[in-house]
């Protein structure tokens, strides 16, 4: 117990480079696999999985020699992207069990078990949970539990897949471990053999200072390992700010149906990581490596946060179908912007909302149909400019947030309704129109309660018209679509302007006009350009 850590688990994935490849291609788990590097004929084996090692394949062998030793050997090039993704996946899997981790090496994670026993039980239960989490992200791990990181690391290498060293019994357990079961630098291993050392107990019995004097820092580290003493500080690992999965392809994929299984595999791994961390994806970014050497990148903003691989594959497929790459694909990388998963979808009395998967699928299809710019939730902009609105992404709010926003909106709307009540004094009809227009200009019925607000159907863009006016009031409107129409009744002007401090200044007079064809329009006179236009029709 050097730095306050009482119980530590070491999660270790053997032959990590091979495991990373197996994670991308699960079908290779049962076959002898060698991860190779270098161009032929200088291709060398970097790492081999268990069946290949059983066949005699070792790191450093030439490709030809490995093939002779193990005839059915499958070779895959080393993929830094796949290893990095697997390394992050293992860390995130461990993070779902304990918040305090140390990224010791590729495929080796130290997990602080302090405080976890009340949650998950004994050391063996926690170790089994760690192993399950690692398997959920596609990695087979061994777990050792001890009082120190050094002892736990040794325990993870030898014995059963879940190896718990009893508290206080680490020294005895380590003493029996043969030196040959561990990896040592070649000069150290030769020296130990020359000295006749066979177990860690033999090494631990030697004086530490003497080992340091003869073998240098390597000797000191070996003695610490044999005695199970940690002398380096704990370096905590925090979750990365990006979530990415990638897969390189040995062959070129020229069609979308061929690409879909690859997307499915990559997204499946990414979603498993998200599920382990209790997160959901908000935005997906896919980056396709092309045979021409370039890249094809697309971004998919999800309507509802998801971690369902099937739905995400469908959405990505739609996006790539709408924007196909210019050449065959040789690699796929998908990253996700994540948000926290909500614990509850809504209240008992909350009206039902579409399932996130259904909603995301419908929105993706609508986007494909009418374009991304034409789908979303309308939002009124903070401006007095007429028709100041835009679209934002459509997000289903939970019940509590909606209740808050509804109260805020109701408070904001109440005074507007009071202002808009029709109980104010009215004018007598001063219209040049027909007798029926006089009825139109009658007093408002104060005895009737208005059901709501009169809506405007907007013309976008506003339609330019020619207006004959007398004393500034419109008398006749010439519309290219409807012809020339007399103004039966008009009200106005409502003079508004804005943005005078900017280059986009606007100033207009608005009129409400009842025309001879029984329609009521909002007419606008642009005071800057002295032109008229129809803004919309009251309906």
């Amino acid at each position: 117990m050097v730095d306050g850590v009482s119980r530590v688990a070491c999660v270790r994935v053997e032959a990590f480079a091979a495991a990373a490849v197996e994670r991308c291609e699960p079908g290779l788990r049962e076959q002898p696999l060698a991860v190779v590097t270098g161009a032929p004929p200088a291709t060398r084996v970097v790492e081999a999985n268990a069946p290949a090692r059983a066949g005699g394949v070792r790191a450093g062998l030439s490709d030809a020699e490995a093939g002779v030793r193990c005839p059915g050997l499958v070779r895959r090039p080393a993929s830094a992207d796949a290893e990095a993704a697997a390394r992050h996946a293992l860390l995130e899997a461990c993070l779902s069990v304990s918040p305090r981790l140390e990224d010791a090496a590729p495929g080796v994670v130290h997990v602080d078990l302090a405080g976890l026993h009340a949650l998950f039980g004994a050391d063996a239960d926690i170790a089994a949970r760690l192993r399950r989490q690692a398997r959920a992200v596609g990695l087979e791990a061994r777990v050792g539990v001890a009082a120190t990181r050094a002892a736990a690391a040794v325990a993870a290498r030898v014995g059963p897949t879940v190896n718990v060293l009893p508290p206080g019994g680490e020294g005895a357990a380590l003493a029996a471990v043969p030196l040959a079961a561990l990896d040592w630098p070649e000069p150290l291993a030769a020296t130990f053999t020359r000295w006749g050392l066979t177990t860690l107990g033999d090494l631990a019995a030697l004086p530490r200072d003497g080992l340091g004097a003869r073998l240098g820092p390597g000797g000191l580290a070996a003695h610490d390992r044999a005695t199970g003493v940690d002398r380096t500080p704990w370096v905590p690992w925090t979750a990365p700010v990006f979530w990415e999965e990638a897969q390189g392809l040995e062959w070129e994929l020229g069609t979308l149906p061929a690409l879909v299984p690859v997307l499915d595999a990559v997204l499946g791994r990414l979603c498993a990581r998200l599920a382990a961390a209790h997160l959901v994806a908000d935005t997906l970014e896919v980056r396709l490596a092309l045979a021409t050497g370039g890249h094809h990148a697309r971004s998919v903003t999800l309507a509802a946060p998801l971690s369902d691989a099937g739905a995400l594959v469908a959405l990505l497929t739609l996006e790539i179908e709408a924007h196909p790459p210019s050449a065959a694909v040789t690699g796929v990388a998908i990253s996700a912007h994540v948000v926290a998963r909500r614990a509850a979808p809504g209240g008992l009395w909350q009206p039902p909302a579409p399932a996130p998967r259904d909603l995301a699928g419908v929105l993706a299809r609508l986007t494909t149909l009418v374009g991304r710019a034409n789908v979303g939730a309308p939002v009124a902009l903070d401006s007095h400019r007429p028709d100041a609105c835009s679209l934002t992404s459509f997000v289903v709010e939970p019940a509590e947030e909606h209740a808050r926003s509804a109260r805020a909106t109701a408070d904001a709307v109440k005074p507007a309704r009071a202002d808009g009540a029709i109980a104010e004094p009215t004018s007598a009809a001063a219209s040049p129109g027909k007798p029926s227009d006089a009825a139109a200009g009658a007093e408002p019925p104060t005895e009737e309660t208005p059901a709501g607000a009169l809506a405007l159907r907007r013309l976008r863009p506003p339609r330019a018209v020619t207006v004959e006016a007398a004393d500034g009031r419109p008398l006749r409107v010439s519309d290219p679509a409807a012809g020339t129409l007399d103004v039966v009744m008009c009200a106005g002007p409502w003079r508004i302007s804005g943005d005078w401090w900017d280059t986009d200044v606007w100033a207009r007079d608005e009129w409400d006009v009842a025309l001879g064809d029984d329609t009521v329009w909002r007419l606008a006179h642009n005071r800057l350009t002295n032109t008229w236009c129809l803004d919309g029709v009251y309906d």
Binding site: P351, L369, A380, G452, A453
Partner: protein, 187 residues
């Protein structure tokens, strides 16, 4: 309450009328009612005519409205409505076909009706003339009744309101009646 009678879960309702008849005001009222109780609504806007600022002032919870702008493509609007009406969870799917509604085959209309019934979504079709025929469980025709103008002087300074008259044109399983309802809208 007019909206309660207009919106029936899992049914298709048709609202027709000329310009300035009050049909869009009634549509906005339906959106306010649906979003006000926390449910979701979708609006397929064929002619890009929806006044979002005015709707917000009228009390519509814009964040609970999914706005699809078909930019004049009527086939896209029908396809969008078909997609939405098959997605359970929307309390209201409003299809505003504008002033030039497309011809809709009887088969297409009944498919929409069946989809609405299966998903429990209320489909409200708003247009200048009837397009879905007998597939609509309820058809209401709107017309303008009168206008009210306001202002301190002789000449009116603003449009104060409009009264609309809604006639029941068709009600599934009931004989046609001369039932009508008058509604005031404030400008």
């Amino acid at each position: 309450m007019l909206v309660d009678r207009l919106l029936r879960q899992g049914a298709m309702t048709e609202l027709v009328g000329p310009l300035s008849s009050g049909r869009t005001s009634l549509l906005t009222l339906c959106l306010r009612d649906v979003t006000g109780r926390g449910a979701l609504a979708a609006l397929v806007d064929t002619d890009h005519a929806f006044d979002a600022v005015g709707a917000a002032a009228a009390g519509v919870e814009l964040r609970r409205v999914l706005w699809i702008r078909a930019e004049g493509h009527r086939r896209h609007a029908l396809k969008a409505a078909d997609l939405l009406v098959r997605c359970p969870g929307f309390a209201l799917v409003a299809l505003d076909l504008g002033e030039s509604p497309p011809r809709l085959s009887v088969g297409a209309a009944y498919r929409l009706r069946l989809a609405a019934r299966r998903s429990g979504v209320t489909l409200l079709v708003v247009s200048a003339r009837r397009v879905v025929g007998g597939a609509a469980a309820l058809a209401v025709a709107a017309r303008r009744d009168r206008l009210a103008w306001a202002g301190p002087g002789v000449l009116p300074r603003r449009l104060a309101g409009m009264r609309s008259e809604f006639h029941l044109v068709r009600k599934q399983g009931a004989p046609s009646t001369a039932e009508a309802e008058r509604v005031w809208w404030t400008a």
